[in-house]
Symmetry: C2
Subunit: 199 residues, 2 copies
């Protein structure tokens, strides 16, 4: 019997370092599936279709919504974003673990549809560090940074109901925590008992 994969939701405030940690986690791993979102926004220079996003028309997106083809979807400044359900379900059926890097709102939607998903929240080592990271990006106005920090407080409160919180003090440590969580979750009785009784 092939071991089925699991869905891991990875959320966390802007500035927590999700993308850096995940790109390190994925390095050299072909047993992991990274969920690429579909979006109606226009590709920007450098965007690669199917890698950064699946770029689709509004008609196409709407058709997918009607077919319940998203695990979660949301509107953000006039564009729609969604996590296509089929690739995730195909990946786990084939034995891969699927990683969904999404926002807290989207995480709730996925969890409602897939309560077997494991919810992981990535946090920076401190509020000071989060503020420092957001400021040093140099891409946001002070007002926008302030808003991001306030949202982070709200999200951290929501994270109390998550399964795990990964502390991103260093990238190495955060990746190690993620790997441990994923391995531990494959030691749950439901998976193991099936394995043992079939042998």
């Amino acid at each position: 019997m092939k071991r089925p994969g699991k869905i891991f939701i990875v959320a966390g405030p802007s500035g927590a370092g999700k993308s850096t940690v995940l790109s390190r986690l994925f390095a050299g791993r072909d047993d992991l599936f990274y969920s690429v979102s579909a979006t109606t926004r226009e590709p920007r220079p450098g965007d690669v279709d199917g890698v950064d996003y699946h770029f689709v028309t509004a008609d196409h997106f709407r058709a997918m919504m009607r077919q319940d083809a998203f695990l979660e979807c949301a509107e953000y400044v006039g564009n729609f974003y969604g996590t296509p359900r089929a690739p995730v379900e195909e990946a786990i059926a084939s034995g891969k673990d699927a990683i969904l890097e999404i926002e807290v709102q989207g995480a709730n939607q996925v969890y409602a549809k897939r309560p077997d998903a494991i919810r992981i929240f990535i946090i920076p080592p401190s509020w000071e560090e989060l503020e420092h990271r957001l400021r040093s990006r140099g891409t946001d106005t002070p007002e926008k940074i302030e808003k991001r920090l306030m949202r982070a407080h709200v999200e951290l409160d929501a994270a109390k109901s998550y399964d795990y919180i990964v502390l991103n003090d260093t990238v190495d440590s955060a990746v190690e925590q993620l790997r441990a969580i994923m391995q531990a979750e494959h030691c749950r009785p439901a998976d193991r008992i099936a394995l043992f009784t079939e042998v």
Copy 2:
């Protein structure tokens, strides 16, 4: 704030390889505490007091029972065995993880007193392998082996309610699973939120 330790209950059928896996896990680790049982049985040649068991008199054992000084205790062929509570609680207060290698009955008693304990069940890769291991020990009669196998079936059923099942296909793999489980359990929100809000 010092990170507190956690209690990990490690149970599993006779022949699952608990002792081998745990001795490998403990090698070179001073951040782990191995709970040594107290017993009223006589020391055998080679037994080291405080290492194999804490050898105590029946009077002493009874006094400890009256003081609720055991996390679990049981009688086995006329002798009493118990897990002293104080050393475990001191260990976790000092930040060490405490490992309790105990029988399924004892595991239930510990869990009733410490519902924060994490229950791990170690299983051999198959029934055939379990039977092979028990027979190749050469210490038990065929009748006793048969009885151990039947008890293993009953215990595996109880293990469905455990937190994790470690598959002992190789010692290295089993130790890696245990380490992952212990690390993952330190990523639970209750621990992490406290850490973050204090910073």
